[in-house]
Symmetry: C2
Subunit: 614 residues, 2 copies
C-alpha cells in the first residue's frame, strides 16, 4: 500500500515537472528550476496530505495552500491540472495576456488562496488563515505554506514565526524548499538544514529536517506535522533546484530562465519521460463542518454632546466597537498600539475577535489579508506612520483583491511633541496610489464612526486616517457620509475662494473662516472626508462659484495627498489650486506650534486667502 | 578599584534617572519609565565601555551608539549631559519647539548617530555602521545598539541579525532591555531571557543573559562582547521598566506617561535622592586611526552606438560601475537582485565596496542609512516594487538626513509576463512624498548613466527609477541632465499639445509623434526625467505654446507620480492636464500588450491627442 502510494506520488511529481518545464518553455519565461525542486513536496501535499473539495475553491473547510515562493506558480497550476480541476491544455497559456494563469499567482485564478510573488509574505498570510481556522471558524482545516529558502531572510517570515507559536497555531504547517540557490547567488546557508531547524525551533516551532525528494521522509514528516499539538510545524526540506533534469539540477544561473524550445527542451523531456496517465489519486475532501452565515445589522448611531471634544481616533474606537456588535464578521488587529488607536474598545467588547499582533506591522497586514481571504472583514490598526512598514503587504493586498480595512492614527504634525518618527505624513500618498482603494479622512468623531461603518459596507480596500488631538463635534448624529461625498460646511453667495480640507485642518479652516468673516471676507469651506474617490462634482461647482480658485490644506506632505487628489479632479478645468501642506521635515513641539511652523494653521490659511483674493 | 567604578556608574545612573524624569515632567510628555529600565546599561556604556571624543560627534573612530528604542531619547540626552557634552540645563527644553532635544532623536541634535523612533530599525542601522567599520574604514570602532524587548518582534531585527552573523560583525554589540512591558500590554515573552538568547544564538550571535541592573553582570558582559571574534554579541538584560521609583517600577500603564509635576514628581525625586555632582568619570577616547579623505573625479562618459538598444537598468549598471571608479566613497548594496538591477557590474569591479544583503529589503535600506551616516555614498538597488518593503526605513532616512541613493528597477507594466507582484507602480508616489527627495526617471541608457553621477553629486536622498526593456539610445553622450531639468525632444511651431513623459512611455510618445505627424498633427514631446524637482519653467513655456494643454503619460499608477508632479507644477495656472497612467491592477502579458491594455501605449497617446485636439 505504501509503495503504491509512493509510486502514485512519484508519477504525479514527474507530471508536475513535465508541466512546469513545458508551460514555461511555451511562455518563453518563468521559473522552472524552482518548480522542479518542490515538485515532490507539492505532489505529496496535493495528492495525499491535503483535504480539499475539487468542485469548490472557496469551501471554507478546505485545507489552504499558500505558495509563498510565488515564482513557482507553474508548479501550482500544474498541481491543479493534475488534480483534474483545470484542463491540462490550459497550462500552455501560462503568462499570456488573456490567461488566468499568470506569472505569479493572483486571484484571477480562483484557486489562488491569496496573491504572492513578493517573497517572505506567505507565512503571514497563512498565519491569518490559521488564526481564522483555529479561533474563529473553529474549522479543522490546515494551512500549508511552501517557502523558498532565500526568502527566509525576509523579516516578515520571523514576525509570522513568532506570532504563530505565540498563538499555538498547530494548524499551520510550513515547508521550506532548501535548494540553496537564490536569484543571483547561493543563499547564506546553502544546504545547512540544521540552521533553519534551529532557528524555527528557537521561535517555538516543531521542526523536521528531511530529504525533500524522498517520500520515506516527506510523508512521515507531514503526518508528524498534522499530529502537532499547540505548535506550528516547519518542515525543512533539502532539495535540488532543477531536480529531475540533469543539466538543470543544482546548477547556478538557471533562476528565472525557461528551457528553450527545441533541442534543450527535448533533452529535458526525454530525461523526465512521458506524462503518466490515469494515475489513481484520491483527494480527501474536507470535513463538512457547519459554517453559519452571519448577517450584519446597522450600527448604533453616534452620541456626543454638541460641546464635546473628541479626537477622530476616539470616534474610530467607538465606531469599531459598535461595528463589532453589528457585524459578526468584523475582526480587529493591532500592533501594540491599541491604547492609542483605540482599537482596544473593540477588544474589550469582543476579545475573541481581536488579535494583538505586537510590534510587527508586516505580519499585522499579512495576517489581516489572510483573514480577509477567509471571509472576515479585518480592521488593521496602528499609527499611520507605521503602516509604511507594511507597504509591500498593503500593495499585495490590492493584487489579492482583499476586503481589508486599514486605520492609521496619529497622522500629521498635529500629534505634537513625539516628533516626526511618529507622524503619518505620507500615508495618503501611499493609499491613494493603491488601485481602487477608498481613502477616508474624517474631521470629527461623528464622521469617524460613520466612516467605520461605511468601510465595512464597501467591498475592497479602505483606509481611514485618524488624528490624535481632540476636536469639536461638527456634525449631527443623523448625518450620512457616503464614500465619494463631501460636506460643504461653510457657504455664502460671496465666497471668494473655496478652502478644501479635512481632519484637524478643517478645524483650522473654520477658525480662518471666522477670522476672515470678521474682516469682511467670505470663504467656502469644504470637508473632503473622502479623498479617494473625490467628490468632483462638488469641487467643480464650488470652484465655479468662487472665482475658479481652490485652496487645499492638509496635515500631510505636499505630494500625493488631499491637494493632489483635488488637483487630479480639476485637472482638465481652468481652476487654480493653491496647496497648503506640511513644509519640510517636522519636529517636536506643541500641536498648535507645529501647525503654525509648518504652514497649515488657521493663520496660514488666512494669509493664503488674502494673497489670492487681493 | 572595581567598587569605585561601580559607585561611579551607579551615581551616574541615578543622575540619568533623575534627568529622565525631570525633563519629561517638564515637557509634560515622554517615556520616562522606558528610560529608567535602561539607565544602568547606558551608564556602563557611556561612562566606561564606549570610546568617544567628547569634542567631536563625527569623529570617524568614535564608538557608535544607536538608540533603537528611540522613545528613550531623554535618557540619551541625559547621557550626553552627564558626559559634559551638553549643559544639564538644556535637558529642561526637551520636546520644545525650539529645542534640538526632540521627542525621538533626530540629527538636529548632532550626537544623534541616526534618527530612530520607528522601532526595529536600530540593528540594521548599526549593521551598516559595523560593515563600514570592519570592511571599509578598517577602524576598530564598535557599534552599540540598545533595543527594547517589544521591538524584537519586528522582522527588521531578524534581517539584521542574520546578516550580522553572516558578515562576522564582531564589532556589533546589541543590548536588549527586557523590561517585559510593551506599549499596550506585556510582551510575548515577559522576562523569559532564555528565549531571547536562544533565538539570537540560533541566528549566529554570541549571547549573554544578565541582570540589567547589576554591574557585576553588566560589566563582564560588555567585556566578553568586546572580546568576541567573528560573531556579533547580543546582551539580553533583564530589567524593570520604571526602575528606581517605587510607584513606577514594573507597573502596567506607565508607558509614554510623564510623571506629573507636583506631588508625584516630588515623591519620585525624593526616592532617587539628589543629583550626584563631581562624579569622576573617565571617558576613553578613540584610537587615532588615520582616515584618508578621498576625492572624486569625473565619471567616464557614456559610450553607445547610436543604433544600440539598451535598457535604462543596463545604463544604471554601467553608470554605477563608472561611478565606483570615479568616487571611492561610493558603495553599493543589493537584495539578491544584482543580476536584474545590474548592480552586479559594480560588484565585479569593486567587490570590496559591494554588499550582498540577500532577500531582506528593510535591512537593505537600514544598512544603507548606517553607511551613509558614516560618510559613504550608498547606492541601494532592488526592484522598484520591493523598495515598498523598506518604506518605513526610507521614510526614516529622510528624518536622518541621510545622503543615500535608491535605485528601483523593473518599474511598471513594461516588465511584462512576471506580472503585478514584480511591477513598481507606486514607487514615484512613495519617493515624491519624501521631503527634499530627488526623483529621477531616465529614458535612455545615456541619461541613466548621467543621472547616476548626478545623484552622487547631490547631497541628500535620490531615487532613480529604471526599466526592464531595452530601448533606443536617444541622447548624445555629451548631453547633460541636471537635476530639475527636462529635455524637449520634439518641438515645432505647430504643436497642438505637449506630451510630457519619461521612461518607456517616452519611447511610446515618440512613436505617437510619428503616427500623428504622418496624419498632419504636431505634438511637443518632453522628457521629464526629473520628476522631483520638476522643470516648471519648461512646462509652463510649453503649455503656453500648445494651447495650454498637457498630456502626461507614465508607466505607474495614476496617483502620486509624474502626472501629479506636472499637475502640481501648473496648479495655479489655467493649464489643462490630461493624465494617462496604468489603469486597474495589471496582469501578465507581453510588454507591448500590457502597455496597450493599460492605456499607456503609443496608440493610447494618439487617441488622447485626437480627443483633445479635435
Amino acid at each position: 500500500m505504501v509503495d503504491t502510494l509512493k509510486n502514485i506520488l512519484e508519477q504525479k511529481a514527474t507530471n508536475l515537472r513535465i508541466h512546469s518545464i513545458t508551460s514555461t518553455s511555451e511562455a518563453g519565461s518563468g521559473h522552472p528550476t524552482t518548480c522542479l525542486s518542490a515538485a515532490d513536496i507539492v505532489s505529496a501535499l496535493f495528492f495525499h496530505a491535503m483535504r480539499y473539495d475539487c468542485t469548490d475553491a472557496q469551501n471554507p473547510n478546505n485545507d489552504r495552500f499558500i505558495l509563498s515562493k510565488g515564482h513557482a506558480a507553474p508548479l501550482l497550476y500544474a498541481a491543479y491540472a493534475e488534480a483534474g480541476i483545470i484542463p491540462v491544455d490550459d497550462l500552455a497559456t501560462l503568462r499570456q495576456v488573456d490567461s488566468i494563469l499568470e506569472g505569479h499567482p493572483t486571484p484571477r485564478f480562483e484557486w489562488t488562496e491569496v496573491a504572492t510573488g513578493s517573497l517572505g509574505q506567505g507565512l503571514s498570510l497563512g498565519l491569518g488563515m490559521a488564526l481564522n481556522g483555529k479561533y474563529l471558524d473553529k474549522s479543522d482545516y490546515r494551512v500549508y505554506v511552501l517557502l523558498g529558502d532565500g526568502e527566509t531572510a525576509e523579516g516578515g517570515v520571523w514576525e509570522a514565526a513568532a506570532l504563530a507559536s505565540h498563538y499555538k497555531l498547530d494548524n499551520l504547517i510550513g515547508i521550506i524548499d532548501v535548494n540553496a540557490l537564490g536569484q543571483s547567488q547561493r543563499t547564506m546557508y546553502a544546504f545547512d538544514i540544521d540552521t533553519y531547524c534551529q532557528r524555527f525551533e528557537a521561535f517555538g516551532w516543531q521542526t523536521i529536517g528531511i530529504d525533500g525528494h524522498d517520500y520515506d521522509e516527506i510523508l512521515p514528516a507531514l503526518e508528524k506535522a498534522k499530529a502537532s499539538n499547540d505548535k506550528p510545524t516547519m518542515i525543512v526540506a533539502k532539495t535540488y533546484k532543477g531536480k529531475g533534469v540533469s543539466f538543470l539540477e543544482n546548477e547556478d544561473n538557471w533562476h528565472g530562465k525557461a528551457v528553450e524550445k527545441g533541442e534543450q527542451l527535448d533533452k529535458a523531456l526525454a530525461e523526465l519521460g512521458p506524462l503518466h496517465t490515469d494515475v489513481p489519486i484520491q483527494i480527501q475532501t474536507p470535513n463538512p463542518i457547519d459554517n453559519q452565515t452571519s448577517t450584519a445589522s446597522a450600527c448604533e448611531p453616534p452620541e456626543y454632546a454638541s460641546d464635546e471634544e473628541v479626537a477622530t481616533r476616539g470616534g474610530y474606537g467607538i465606531g469599531l466597537a459598535k461595528l463589532g456588535k453589528a457585524n459578526p464578521n468584523v475582526v480587529a488587529l493591532d500592533g501594540d498600539t491599541k491604547n492609542s488607536t483605540y482599537s482596544e474598545q473593540f477588544m474589550e467588547s469582543y476579545p475573541d475577535r481581536f488579535f494583538e499582533m505586537f510590534i510587527a506591522e508586516q505580519n499585522l497586514v499579512g495576517a489581516g489579508i489572510g483573514l480577509a481571504k477567509r471571509g472576515k472583514i479585518p480592521y488593521v490598526s496602528t499609527f499611520a506612520a507605521f503602516l509604511s512598514r507594511g507597504y509591500d503587504q498593503i500593495r499585495m493586498s490590492a493584487i489579492s483583491q482583499a476586503n481589508i480595512k486599514y486605520a492609521g492614527s496619529h497622522c500629521g504634525v498635529s500629534i505634537g511633541e513625539d516628533g516626526p518618527s511618529q507622524m503619518g505624513l505620507e500615508d495618503l500618498a501611499m493609499f491613494r496610489a493603491i488601485p481602487d482603494a477608498v481613502v477616508l479622512y474624517p474631521s470629527d468623531a461623528v464622521a469617524a464612526e460613520r466612516l467605520v461603518a461605511e468601510a465595512a459596507a464597501h467591498e475592497g480596500i479602505v483606509y481611514i486616517r485618524t488624528s490624535r488631538p481632540k476636536t469639536a463635534i461638527l456634525y449631527d448624529a443623523t448625518e450620512s457620509f457616503p464614500i465619494g461625498g463631501s460636506k460643504v460646511v461653510k457657504k455664502s453667495d460671496d465666497d471668494k475662494v473655496s478652502v478644501v480640507t479635512a481632519g484637524v485642518t478643517l478645524h483650522e479652516a473654520l477658525k480662518a473662516h471666522e477670522i476672515l468673516a470678521a474682516e469682511g471676507t467670505a470663504i467656502r469651506v469644504i470637508d473632503l472626508y473622502s479623498i479617494k474617490p473625490v467628490d468632483t462634482e462638488t469641487l467643480l461647482a464650488a470652484a465655479a462659484e468662487t472665482n475658479n480658485a481652490i485652496i487645499t490644506v492638509e496635515d500631510h506632505y505636499p505630494e500625493g495627498g488631499l491637494g493632489d487628489a483635488v488637483l487630479d479632479a480639476v485637472a482638465t478645468e481652468d481652476i487654480r489650486v493653491h496647496k497648503l501642506a506640511v513644509t519640510g521635515i517636522p519636529r517636536s513641539g506643541k500641536p498648535d506650534e507645529l501647525l503654525e511652523l509648518h504652514g497649515i494653521s488657521a493663520n496660514a490659511i488666512v494669509q493664503k486667502v488674502k494673497a489670492i483674493v487681493c
